[in-house]
């Protein structure tokens, strides 16, 4: 058990709990810097993890901290991506300027989408964001001058301040730098009045108002900031995929983004990052399982006899190679997490840490959920 001994208010304000925690994060950073040398074949996937990390951060701010659930965040990713490509390739603006403009434009879109939020709560807002996303997706398909319409648009590699960052390693570090920047800015906001106002809006709008929180202003800021982060993520995402088409930014992608925050654990930055790691690496894991599982099943059943083993292999192989399986796996994971681990991966991580720090006095009932009865949320 560790004692955290505070002697000044400033220590509570810091980004890290104490020097020990800061050192762990420094170690993590060093590990991430060395990682490209160790697993060069996974660099592209890891870059996607960082991009999704920014997305998870964005959605965590909006849904986890402010309580405004958006089912249309993929649209913001698209706005950022298309805007960035248009600014760099059609207008020829420098990379950093383009990303900044793309983020600003996406923030504007966020404010637009957030306008209905000022008047409605809960599920109505979620449905409204979904409707916005579907409309924006249609705009992507129709506005051929900017987006290339249904034919799509190719994306060049990143060139920042004249330096070509197209290689896998360079792009990896670019994404890592952006993620760290996003984390720092968001953590700053969360320890200041803005972040507290967001939490207040989530928990009790009436009490927040009576404490002087202007709901409209802070909800708008939440949407704008969240969308701006998505704008930056969109720019990086464009470089990552290399080719933009409207049907990339679909409802299914929005659902994957929400999956990130649910699986990661609502209400913490760690949760956003954990969720991003999970969602970005899951397709990789599924692809590998697709090869490994039939072989494994075949060998297992093959104990009974070669014919049976071959048949089992063939059947399992046919099953896992089906195209419609992947969304089902995502759905299943989502359902399982909500049923059995609503606090997400970060929640499980906290439970594990508690187990080790209070060993052998750990009580399983510490985290048991109370039986909750449903009360009408219509009158919130």
């Amino acid at each position: 058990m560790r004692f955290v001994f505070r002697t000044a208010y400033g220590q509570d304000l810091g980004l890290f709990r104490d020097g020990v925690q800061r050192n762990w994060y420094v170690l993590l950073l060093l590990g991430l810097i060395v990682l490209p040398k160790l697993v060069p074949e996974y660099l592209v996937d890891l870059s996607l993890v960082f991009i999704y990390g920014l997305c998870g951060l964005s959605l965590m701010v909006l849904a986890g901290y402010t309580g405004l659930v958006s089912l249309g965040h993929a649209a913001f990713l698209g706005v950022g991506a298309y805007a960035h490509v248009y600014f760099t390739q059609t207008l020829g603006l420098p990379w950093v300027v383009s990303v900044a403009l793309a983020a600003a434009l996406t923030a504007g879109a966020g404010i637009l989408v957030g306008l209905p939020a000022l008047r409605m709560t809960g599920v109505y807002l979620t449905i409204a964001t979904l409707a916005f996303a579907l409309i924006i997706q249609e705009v992507f398909a129709r506005w051929e001058h900017v987006t290339g319409g249904l034919k799509g648009r190719a994306v060049d590699k990143a060139v920042v301040f004249g330096v070509h960052l197209g290689g896998d390693v360079a792009f990896y570090f670019l994404c890592l730098a952006c993620l760290i920047g996003g984390l720092w800015l968001t953590a700053n906001l969360l320890r200041t009045p803005t972040g507290r106002a967001w939490v207040a809006i989530r928990d009790s709008e009436i009490a927040a108002q009576s404490m002087g929180v202007n709901l409209a202003v802070y909800k708008t800021i939440a949407f704008a900031y969240s969308a701006a982060l998505m704008g930056v993520a969109g720019a990086l995402f464009a470089h990552h995929v290399g080719f933009l088409a409207p049907d990339i930014f679909s409802v299914l992608l929005s659902i994957q983004l929400l999956l990130m925050v649910v699986v990661g654990g609502l209400g913490s930055l760690h949760g956003g990052v954990f969720g991003a790691i999970f969602v970005a690496l899951l397709p990789v894991a599924i692809a590998q399982a697709r090869d490994a599982v039939p072989a494994g099943v075949g060998r297992l059943v093959g104990v009974l006899g070669k014919g049976a083993g071959d048949a089992a292999f063939a059947a399992t192989d046919r099953f896992v190679k089906q195209p419609g399986l992947e969304p089902g796996i995502f759905g299943l994971i989502l359902v399982l997490f909500i049923l059995f681990e609503p606090l997400g991966i970060y929640g499980r991580w906290l439970k594990i840490k508690l187990f080790f720090s209070t060993f052998p006095l750990y009580k399983h009932a510490t985290f048991r959920r109370q039986k909750a009865y449903m009360r009408s949320e219509r009158l919130r």
Binding site: T126, F132, E138, R142, L258, L325, G331, E377, L379
Partner: protein, 290 residues
């Protein structure tokens, strides 16, 4: 003028489908305050099950129809009893995500069981039409409209006149108090899910001859959201009226507005309603008493 009438008629028929799916949303929302994002996928399952009975097993259309409704309704009730019951009391966001996840599982299941191509369902109304004045009235569309009207009448009476209907409303507003009043809340919820799933299945079977069956049929559910919101999320007649309105608007905008508007017409209507009159046409506004 004939063209407009034709469009309106077709719009009403399509709108009835939206209305039926919206009806399912509203039923579940009134009872349990959940929004079931998998409602469209229930519809898809209903269509596929009916197709399976007709084409694979050779049953007659009406028998297959009845079996499909029964199967999906039972499935809905079982889903409630096993999975959804466990998440009551959790914040609404979690339950919404749960239904989204379930929808994805249903689509995957359909793709594995029945395949991911497009199928047609042979019905007694297929490819038959009557001309009334200058308007071609397709029998498929008529079957949709008639089926919807009958179903809505039955449900309206059920909720207004029976004890079960009133009990469901009580359970939706304060679960604990409903328990105290002796209402078997869990059974109520399962019944509501069964009815809602059954309604979705009916919508799916009615729609199948018109729009063909494939696993993405459920995305129609998103447009049905617009119908439910337009009608007012707590109102049963509202769902139907909303659906028909959206259907007509959609077809008219397809004919008279530039290409692409037809697809997003429903969503634009949704946003306009949410911005100007969030309670829809027949809904009511509630406030929390502090």
């Amino acid at each position: 003028m004939d063209i407009v009438l034709q469009l309106v008629l077709n719009g009403i028929a399509v709108g009835c489908i939206y209305g039926l799916v919206a009806l399912g949303f509203v039923l579940i929302y009134k009872a349990t305050e959940l929004v079931n994002f998998a409602q469209g996928d229930f519809m898809m399952l209903g269509a596929f099950v009916c197709y399976m009975f007709v084409v694979w097993y050779g049953f007659g259309y009406w028998l297959a129809f009845a079996l499909a409704i029964a199967a999906v309704a039972v499935f809905g009730a079982v889903l409630d009893a096993t999975i959804l019951r466990r998440v009551l009391g959790q914040p609404q966001f979690a339950v919404v995500m749960l239904t989204i996840g379930l929808g994805a599982i249903f689509r995957s299941f359909a793709s594995i069981t029945w395949g991911s191509e497009i199928y047609t369902l042979p019905t007694p109304f297929s490819a038959r039409a009557t001309r009334v004045g200058g308007v071609t009235v397709s029998h498929e569309y008529v079957s949709i409209i008639v089926g919807t009207v009958v179903l809505c009448a039955v449900l309206f009476v059920f909720f207004r006149r029976t004890r079960v209907g009133v009990a469901m409303q009580a359970a939706s507003q304060n679960q604990l108090a409903a328990y105290y009043m002796g209402i078997p809340v869990k059974r109520m919820f399962s019944l509501i899910w069964a009815i809602s799933a059954g309604v979705a299945a009916i919508a799916g079977v009615l729609l199948a001859p018109v729009s063909l069956i494939d696993i993405n049929l459920g995305f129609l559910g998103l447009k049905a959201f617009a119908a439910a919101v337009l009608g007012g999320f707590g109102s049963i007649p509202g769902a139907l009226v909303g659906g028909v309105t959206i259907g007509v608007i959609e077809l008219l905008s397809g004919a008279y507005l530039p290409h692409g508007f037809k697809d997003v017409a429903a969503y634009v209507v949704l946003l306009v309603v949410l911005a100007l009159r969030p309670q829809g046409m027949f809904g009511t506004v509630g406030r929390k008493k502090v």
